[in-house]
Assembly symmetry: C2
């Protein structure tokens, strides 16, 4: 099985998601700048994977930073975190990861610098393992919500490739299939980056889970033909009121699901919940280059000079969301309350 990201002595090793499915190749980022660049170029993508990759990038940068005093290390730490924070603004897991690494750094600030270096590498590795454990817990919590047989539609890739392994939305589907449910996945291709056709179909095919790729604009037709019993997607940021920022097109799927009476679920680790953001209108939405829309495989598919919108994400208001599946349990409306309750619950411990 592939590994989406991995800590190695040579640096942070990533499967290159820009080359899938044609080629399964790996890239080792030897410096923190390389990691930041890989996040920016979407070599690694998916909110949970971005978070852990950033943590590993921070650990890598500190490991290789010169300096015998904690003050020197802290200056470097700030510089690295600034670089990481600027890579992609929407996924809150990135900022969560930075905060967590900073908290660990500060807790160790009276220790010898060599110990700080070592412990921050260990912290990033711990986050890696916790992410997989959280996804498995999400799978257990969400599997019961999946139909015993039927179509489940997903948008973008919220799978093993978007996380450290197993996946969030696809983790729920995997757990349901492992539990004997007969699920057929409809994977929206997810323009412009094609995470659905390139990544979701690829990893589900490896697992032998039946999958049909559709163009994004076919979701309505599939639903009206009764082929979709549930929708489950990931998230890049969830506001305190349950509004969900996720890959562009998620909102369209949510509206369609409601029109057809199909439950629309979001699966995400609790680190995706941002209680400091009251609602979706406050979530910054990354705009990406026009060229992602106007060119495919290097070939122009739109006239030169045409205007393009290319928001990477959209916001689905909480009223469309039937449940938010986390490792701590499933939040149900009203989300202001249920998310706050989960925030107070214990985190998943890895055994």
């Amino acid at each position: 099985m592939f590994k989406t990201l991995e800590w190695t002595d040579e640096g942070v090793r990533l499967i290159d998601q820009t080359r899938l499915p044609a080629e399964e190749s790996y890239l080792t980022c030897a410096t923190y700048e390389d990691v930041a660049d890989a996040i920016r170029r979407m070599v690694v993508r998916g909110a949970p994977a971005i978070g852990v990759a950033a943590a590993m990038g921070i650990a890598l940068g500190l490991r290789d930073a010169e300096g015998d005093h904690v003050s020197e290390l802290r200056r470097k730490f700030d510089e690295i975190c600034e670089t990481m924070a600027e890579t992609r603004p929407t996924a809150v897991n990135l900022f969560w990861a930075i905060r967590r690494m900073r908290a660990r750094f500060e807790a160790l600030s009276d220790e010898p610098v060599e110990r700080i270096r070592r412990e921050l590498v260990a912290e990033a590795q711990r986050m890696y393992l916790e992410d997989i454990a959280a996804n498995e817990a999400m799978g257990r919590n969400g599997a019961v919500l999946m139909p015993s047989a039927g179509g489940v539609l997903t948008h973008c890739n919220a799978g093993a490739l978007a996380t450290c392994g197993y996946g969030t939305a696809l983790g729920v589907i995997r757990a349901a299939v492992e539990g004997g449910k007969k699920i057929h996945v409809y994977a929206d291709e997810t323009r412009p980056f094609l995470q659905g056709s390139r990544l979701t179909a690829w990893e589900l095919q490896k697992d032998g889970i039946p999958t049909t790729v559709i163009a994004d604009n076919m979701a309505g037709a599939m639903m009206s033909q009764g082929k979709v019993a549930a929708v489950v997607v990931g998230a890049d940021r969830i506001a305190a009121n349950g509004d969900v920022a996720n890959k562009i097109g998620t909102y369209t799927v949510a509206v369609l699901a409601r029109e057809h009476g199909i439950p629309f679920y979001v699966a995400a680790p609790f680190s995706t919940v941002d209680l400091d953001t009251p609602d979706g209108s406050r979530i910054p939405i990354e705009q990406r280059a026009s060229r992602e829309v106007t060119h495919i495989a290097g070939k122009p598919v739109a006239p030169e000079g045409v205007k393009v919108e290319n928001p990477a994400f959209d916001v689905t208001p909480a009223k469309y969301v039937a449940g938010i599946i986390t490792e701590r349990g499933v939040a149900r409306p009203p989300y202001e309350e249920s998310l706050k309750q989960l925030a107070e619950a214990a985190t998943v411990e890895i055994s």
Copy 2:
């Protein structure tokens, strides 16, 4: 200005829509088989353009058919019509064009074969001119429904490239702009064939009408941000009850429009209305090759062997349609009645 299709002495000349926008090249079909192949390969596409191209193909085939007796010519006529009818099943204009050519043939069956040959060429050319006149009338009828300023979203290409000129949905937009309305077009790219980004953006750019290309899955986000004041699309077949078959993804747009309180209009010549089809469930939906979804510009964008759905069209139930703009006037719900009334109205005469 380009011509989408044109009768010439050498055959039916078509702009090659598979090569736009990178290359503006023309293909001359010297035989009716060439015309049928061009329709099948979507060198020419769009319901009204398909109808007239088929009529020209029939005229071409008969012109070059051997035989001194009407019975020989009729055998050839039947053979040609069968080939044409099998090219694309959804667009009713194709069958309308065949019926009209057949009626003309039968009306002339006592005439010398040379006259039949000549008159059928003339009939196809008349259909060409009538199509442009119908589009201009549609434009006049529909322009008043467009906002005086604001965004208008369209899906696929229902423009000059989908017709003999001026366009249906884009004809309405053109007429509104010519009348002084400040319209900004949002063009869904329209996967998998990309008629929106490749064709709609190209022809609107030539006219200097401001256009923004978006991926299909961005339509919901644009609407929720208040950027879209109206939607206007074309149609491939309209059932007697007002259900509309149009390019895959149209239904998704219609659901989104309703959710946002945005009027959703359909513009089509009355030849698109099929009163013999009671409702949308009876409209045959063409399934196209998986490769249109799995490959872009010859490059695989999905893992080998993955399942794909690729319906070319979907059906939008009449309840989502605010009005059907035709050259005879605008039909409003209930469509059973309003379409029947328009059927009884006089056709547009060309001056």
